[in-house]
Symmetry: C2
Subunit: 129 residues, 2 copies
């Protein structure tokens, strides 16, 4: 493995953010991981860290059983990629998601993502993961 | 930059594949980059390298002006992430795509992707890139 100690720290921080913020949908933990100057590229999100907290509060209320199931994650310098499966409730086909994070000074400073419905019965017998 | 020589080779190979296969939609160049045992996870694709060639022939006929505009790319060991914008014709909003490739023996051996329509007029004034 060719990761530097700093790269491993960056990857670990993002995976801790999944465990402590995204999976529990815990807005109170956001400030420990997300920069005050957070740059959000999700097309459906309003910009900024405070709107992220409001979003987490909303989905926690609407889909309290949601899981963000990380399949694989990678780091290159200050950028981290995470490929995961969102299921909003038990039995939900959910979404395939790739997130890309840029870290700065030990915090998540910028975020891009792409989301797609998981389908059943398509032409590919392999799943999207 | 902490990339090893092998990582840089892996990244370069994927970007050459974009330049020589995906952008020109050239099925005749596939065998130089894609393993015979190619594992395809795109949900809408039929499995295998031969079906990839047929797919390229189809889109080259249907959308000869399509571009695959790479925004950023990263490598971690034998995995490469590419974030790019597909526009099928001039003026197309297109799709935001993240591809993830696993390399083996100097070839692309496995591929996952997530695709999403680029929208206009959403709540986020920043684009998805």
């Amino acid at each position: 493995m060719s990761r530097t100690a700093q790269e491993q720290e960056n990857l670990d921080l993002v995976l801790r953010m999944f465990a402590e913020v995204l999976n529990p949908m815990d807005s109170s933990a956001v400030d420990r991981f997300i920069s005050p100057d957070y740059i959000q590229h999700n097309q459906m999100a309003e910009p900024g860290r405070e709107r992220l907290k409001a979003f987490l509060d909303t989905i926690r209320k609407q889909t309290p059983q949601a899981v963000h199931d990380v399949k694989r994650a990678f780091v290159d310098g200050d950028h981290v990629t995470v490929h995961y499966h969102v299921r909003r409730w038990p039995g939900d086909n959910g979404w395939a998601v790739m997130d890309l994070f840029r870290l700065e000074d030990g915090m998540i400073a910028e975020h891009w993502d792409v989301m797609q419905d998981v389908v059943e019965g398509g032409p590919n017998p392999l799943g999207p993961f």
